[in-house]
């Protein structure tokens, strides 16, 4: 049975696209068929983070409007054969997305994939509400920072009222993913702690992704961090999070960068 997962946050720049790519690749690495869908019409970036920017022919809006078939618009990942990308349109207006059109695309994708991961745009307008509209599971990406937590709370309110599941009186499964976490700063009381975020949002935790240079390094080369360097701290955290999405029980810890003596003495190395 396919699951539709929305990666959302309200606030921009917290790591939705990075998370979509990393979790999508992690689930595909476990052999499941995964499609990642970019809902950020006009400001697409998932193609770039996935390294498929030069292979985009058709997009979500073409499929919604019947100009292209789903199979024509899907781009197969070059590294993982069970991972696919449906890009957003770069030129069209976000109003070109209709609820009816999105519903039929998602319905078709459910028959072809194990996971359909919708990368939501920032904000709470049309693109964001349509990205969450047909989701079974929501991943709320939150930075341990006041504006991000506030926006996450707002998004949780929308998930509980504006999604199809909510309107049918069912509960949408929600998880918080804390990204850009700095365990040292949190322990010194300079950053809101994980427990505080979870208490404020009263939503269960899926994972804690540490702040890391590896995330930028991966997006620079157009590869999900879980593929680019599966052993680095953020990749391990994303891989654990993906296993939890699959229902596995994985102990929660914050993977940290192991720094050797050389790194400590000479600081960061060049990418």
């Amino acid at each position: 049975m396919a699951k539709v997962l929305v990666v959302t946050s309200g606030k921009g720049g917290v790591g939705k696209t990075t998370t979509t790519a990393a979790i999508g690749a992690a689930l595909a690495q476990s052999g499941q068929k995964v499609a990642v869908v970019d809902f950020d019409v006009g400001l697409r970036n998932l193609d770039l983070v996935m390294g498929a920017e030069r292979r985009v022919v058709f997009d979500l809006i073409n499929v919604v409007q019947g100009v292209a078939k789903l199979s024509q618009a899907l781009i197969r990942d070059k590294r993982l054969e069970t991972l696919w990308l449906l890009p957003a349109s770069q030129t069209r207006d976000k109003d070109a997305l209709t609820e009816h059109g999105v519903a039929s695309v998602i319905k078709e994708m459910r028959t072809k994939f194990d996971w359909v991961i919708c990368d939501s745009p920032a904000g709470i307008e049309r693109g964001a509400t349509l990205a969450m509209r047909f989701a079974d599971v929501a991943l709320i990406v939150t930075n341990p920072e006041v504006s991000s937590v506030r926006d996450s709370d707002r998004i949780i309110g929308l998930l509980d009222s504006k999604t199809e599941k909510a309107e049918k009186g069912q509960r949408i499964e929600k998880h918080v993913l804390i990204t850009r976490f700095d365990a040292q700063r949190a322990s010194r009381g300079e950053m809101i702690g994980v427990d505080d975020v979870l208490e404020i949002l009263s939503t269960p935790l899926l994972g804690i992704i540490p702040e890391s240079e590896e995330v930028l390094r991966a997006s620079n080369v157009g590869s999900p961090v879980t593929l680019n360097n599966p052993l680095c701290a953020p990749a391990r955290a994303y891989l654990d999070a993906a296993r939890r999405l699959n229902g596995e029980t994985v102990p929660m810890n914050v993977p940290c960068e192991r720094k050797g003596l050389f790194d400590r003495l000479f600081g960061r190395r060049a990418a």
Partner: protein, 90 residues
Amino acid sequence: MRFFNLFRRRRSAPVARERLQILLSYERAARGQADLLATLREEILSAIGKHVTVERDHVQIRVDRGQTVSTLEIDVAIPHSDSMVLAAGS
């Protein structure tokens, strides 16, 4: 001076947590409801407007949301001719 600041700037996270808890308790309560502040403003102004002339531009509204008590301050400037009426009525 700098030396002391080193110690003082630590532990801002508890402040962040407290501010969020207060803010969100209000935002959650207000969710799905009409804007209470706008309703109060309109009703109070129309009540005052029945008796004195109120210039919309001369109305200041301030709120301060606290953890246990909030204050709503509505400051209405009443033209001189009407303040005479007020004085006479008291």
